[in-house]
Structure formats: C-alpha cells, structure tokens
Symmetry: C2
Subunit: 343 residues, 2 copies
C-alpha cells in the first residue's frame, strides 16, 4: 500500500505537484518527455491518488448511489432485480463511476440512510428504483436536495422527474393480442401488485387488448400477484376453476408458478392453456420450459439509466426526460403459435 502523495511522485520525477496532477488526469499540456517520466514513476511506485482529497478539491466524487426502497427490496425474490443491478454495475464501471448500494429494508434503515445519501460531496447522483406509492417520499427528498436523479420505472408522480421505463401498456397489449389472434377466448391474467405502476399498466394493456378484440372482460380471470412464484401458482389455481384457455402473467417467475399449477392438472400447455410471461429471464428459454414472453432490455436499461444520470451530473439538470424503451414479444412454445404453424 502506498501512502504516497502527488508531492512524493513529483519529487521522485523531478517535477511539480501540478505536473503530476496533469499527468494523472490525462490533461494535454504536458510535454511527452515529462509525461513519460512521471508515468514511469507512477507505475513503479504503484501510486493511486487519494480519492477523498480529489473529491474534496474537485467537488466530484465519481460515485453514484443505487437506492432500492422498501417496497422493492422485498422483491429481491425476483431475478429481475439482480439482473438490473448487474447492468447498472457494469455501466458504472464502464464509465469509471463507483456504485454504492442503499438497500432499504425498513423504516429504520430509511432514517439512517437518507442523511448518508444526502451528505454533500458524497454522491454525484442517485438512481432510485421505483414504481410504488411508498417510493414517492424518497423521490421527493432527492428532488428537494437537488441531487441529480434518475428513476428506474415510472413513478406515480412523474411530472418533474427523469425516469426510464418500458412501455408496459403496449407490451402487455401486444402479448395478449397475440393470444387473441391465436384464437384464445378465455384469456386470464396474473397481474403485478395493483399499488405499482407496473402492475397497473400491464393490466391496462391486458384490458385494452381484451376489449378491443371484443372479448368479454371477466373479473374471475384477473388475479393479483406479487411477482413471486408462489403468487403465480396460487393465482393460477384460482383461475383454473373458471376454465381459462390462456394466461398472461406479468412476470416470468409468476408464469413459472402458473405453469406449475397447470401441470398439476390434466391440462396441457399450450394445447389446453397457453402461457405468456414477462421479462425474458434467462431461465425462460432454458431446457423444456420454452416460455413465450415479453423481452425487456434489462441490461440495456441499466446502461441507459446510468448514462442518463451521468449526463445529468455532467451537464446539469434540465427538463425532466422520460425515456421509454422498446420490448419484444419472444414467441416460444407455451403460447401455442409454433404448434399451430407445424400443424
């Protein structure tokens, strides 16, 4: 470990502190001869500039925070979040930012964290995962503090906030329409929580597709889930008594639960009940599952979210931006489309 300072390197290289600083920060006006000499000393001494000093002097920390509020941390059951986190972490690294992690577990955590997050000179910006009523407070706090922020997922009050989301309504509209086109008449859905924008929007898309295609809207075919496998399983059990011939689950994990419930009956997928999920998690394409699903660009989202935030940080906050990413319906076996083609 080196307790070396710029000054030490400067001395060893026979130049001044400022010159070393310029070399370290890769600035232009340094002669090649000197630059090389300094770089050489830096290399051999394994010098790394002190982060705190740099942050203090430059008022930039090159750190961004990822805040997962209460409502979300519960969701850690869903592989969607780890995947997203992975994308975000990669993008941060790519841009030489450090990611720090604020997993809010309960009210108490929240109280301890917010002061930490809002300390001046600590974070250059924040990413907040959102979509639930409860998250409104975090978002409000960040706005008040004027910390650059990008929200992941549309929050309930989105007017003065920059967020990145997918077009949930259209995505589920397309998925359900696909089932309609395949001739399904009694299409059920297992929704996300109805206190989340995701849950609400995906249900809205379902409703739109059903009514637009003149199918009756049967409340018995709509069950609220919470993105867990279990809620998919139990939800499907409820639905099954109403003779569905298809089900659209608002997440792959719930679709897997639903399929487990279906498989416990004599019914067959997709012949008797077609299934479509949402997310396109890696496992959905694995082995014999072959789930038809809505692919959302999880890793890509992570990248966009980070790059948007960095833009805010480096160029100042201007108008709130709303970035909507495209999704894609991935047709595999569980919707029955391939079977029909073969027939």
């Amino acid at each position: 470990m080196s307790n070396l300072t710029l000054e030490d390197i400067a001395e060893k290289a026979g130049v001044s502190r400022s010159t070393v600083s310029r070399v370290v920060n890769n600035q232009s006006n340094v002669s090649n001869k000197v630059r090389e000499r300094v770089l050489n000393v830096i290399q051999t001494t394994n010098f790394h500039p002190n982060a705190a000093a740099r942050t203090l002097a430059s008022q930039r920390s090159w750190m961004i925070g990822l805040v997962l509020p209460l409502s979300v941390s519960f969701f850690f059951t869903d592989p969607y979040y780890p995947n997203l986190t992975k994308g975000i972490a990669q993008a941060c690294n790519q841009n030489n930012y450090t990611l720090s992690f604020f997993l809010v577990g309960n009210k108490e955590d929240e109280d301890k964290m917010y002061p930490r997050i809002s300390r001046k000179g600590f974070l250059d910006g924040v990413l907040v995962q959102s979509g639930h009523h409860g998250d409104q407070q975090v978002i409000g706090t960040m706005i008040d503090l004027k910390i650059p922020m990008v929200v992941i997922g549309r929050p309930f009050r989105a007017d003065n906030v920059t967020y990145v989301d997918i077009d949930n309504i259209n995505s589920s509209f397309n998925a359900v329409s696909h089932l309609v086109r395949l001739g399904r008449k009694r299409i059920a859905t297992i929704t996300g929580p109805n206190n989340s924008t995701v849950g609400i929007d995906r249900l809205e898309g379902y409703r739109k597709a059903i009514t637009e295609r003149n199918l009756p809207y049967d409340e018995n075919l709509v069950v609220e889930g919470d993105f867990t496998e279990a809620s998919g399983y139990y939800g499907m059990q409820k639905i099954l008594s109403y003779k569905p011939d298809a089900v659209f689950a608002a997440s792959d994990v719930m679709a897997i639960g639903a399929m487990r419930a279906i498989n416990e009956t004599k019914l067959r997928i997709p012949d008797d009940v077609a299934v479509i999920g949402f997310d396109d998690l890696p496992m959905s394409s694995l082995s014999n599952i072959q789930l038809t699903t809505v692919r959302q660009p999880v890793v890509q989202s992570g990248i966009i979210v980070v790059e948007t935030l960095i833009d805010l940080i480096e160029n100042g906050i201007s108008q709130p931006r709303h970035i909507i990413m495209d999704t894609e319906l991935i047709i595999r076996d569980t919707c029955g489309a391939n079977r029909r083609k073969l027939a």
Copy 2:
C-alpha cells in the same frame, strides 16, 4: 441542499468550528447548553458534514467494498447471492457504513476496478466473495495492498486470510446420512462446480457419508452441476437412468431442477426418489414444494462478515480468523421422513 460548512453552523450558533465538530461527532466535552444550541442550528439548516472532507481529515471513509469476482457474478442466477447481499447491506447500514459494489463481469472490468478499489482513502475495507480458483488473484491483490479484508466462503489458499464460511463437509455429510438412515440405498448427488471449494466440500461430505455407512460409491450417481436450475434438471436426467432412490443437490435451485426432471417421469417424490437440497431459500418452503434442505444462515452470514470486517478495520489486522457457521437440516416432505413417521 446545503452547501453549508462547519464554519457556517459555528457562526450561526455563535461558537467555533471545533465545537460544532464535537457536537456532530457526538463527543463528550461540550456543555449541554452549547450542544443543544448547535444541534438546533444543525436541525433547522439541515446541515450534513461533507463526507470527502471528513474522510480526508480523518483517514476513514466509512465505506466498505463488496467485490464479486468474475466467477461469482455468473452465479447471479442463484438467489443465494441477492440474499447474501441483502444481509450485508443491512449490516452495513446498521453500523453506519456505506456499501459499494464491485461486480466484476470480465477481465476488462477487473482491470478498471482494481485501481479504483485500491485507491488510498477510498475504502476502509473489502469483502470478497470467493471459493473459486480465479478469485485467488483478487485476494492476493488485497493482501498486498494491506487493505482489511474478509473473504466470504473458504478460498483455495486460506492460510493468511480471514474468512467466514459454513461447514460444508459436515452439512452435506449430515444431509446424506439422513437419507441413509431413511433406508435409501442408491443415493445420487448433483454437486457444485468442482473448481469451487463449495462444490468440492459438499461432494466430500457426500462421499464420507456414503462410505462411512458402507454404501458403494457409484460414479454414475455423481453429476457435476453449476448451481443453475437447468444443471439440476439435466443432471437428474442423467442420473435417472441409473435408478437412484434419492438425490442430494448442492443447492435448492438445482434440487428444484432435479425435481422437475423427476416429475416428468412416473417416479414420485419422496416415495420413489427422495430429494434434499441446500440453502433453504424462501421458496423451498413454499406451497407444495416443501423441500428438505440444509439451512444456511445467509442473512446471519452477511452480518458476521460485515462485523468481522469492521473489527479488522477498527482494531487492526491481527491473526487471520476462520469463522465457521453452523447449518441445520430442515426436514420437510421431499426426503420422505415425515411420510414414514405417519405410516
């Protein structure tokens, strides 16, 4: 947002910078009258001390890094890691440390990250998730840098390193012995990767239990998995042709894959094939799965790991410590023990 400094607060409260500093850091020698006056100003102005300045002056950042090396980030398929991360994040928060996240995706990431991690004055300590050959390099680097470090999971070269792990050998020994006691004769196992200490140790426990109970060790009943559901599924398919009457999977996720494979045959669980997993993920106790499994204290591990690291940070590195946590065999339905009791 406040661009207030200690000095500003001092002025408003009619005291000196030093006194405000004492109040902020909750030090003792301040009269109650003054303390209250200062606290009041701090409250009303919503002042938060600048983190970088504090770090620079005190040489402590109150940040710890969580490094998930290459080999592990691939494993993000397994809910074990999100759960562990949750425990770690909570423990950090509890102790007023900030957690930053270094998810190494590839060699290139690694090269960008290490300088960042090793910058002096940036991290007070590091947590490294380990257990694979590839991680040796990260660990070596941290040792060289003399950064306080705790390794999560026994690394391959563990002599001069503090790590926290569970007793993998005994845990799987107990699980397999349980199957033996239940009268199973052809016990199979789906192992973790054989380039990981976890994989190796859990297999060792299996082997010990089999041979100690005088059952033949049949190589056809041992298949290597990689902790994914798919590897459990395919692994089980291979095993099924050799007529097993039980299977011990080195993770719950693989156990679920194995059960999926079994359920596709006429065989029944636990009557024809008993199943035991490892981890006790929440889903294992859900609904109709009721997986018998080895419970490891995931959240608890997170806490221990963080507290051990904080101890190293605050009291200096002494002898490397090896902390082994206990596990517990959770008997549910898939091992057949309950069925027998009822019979």
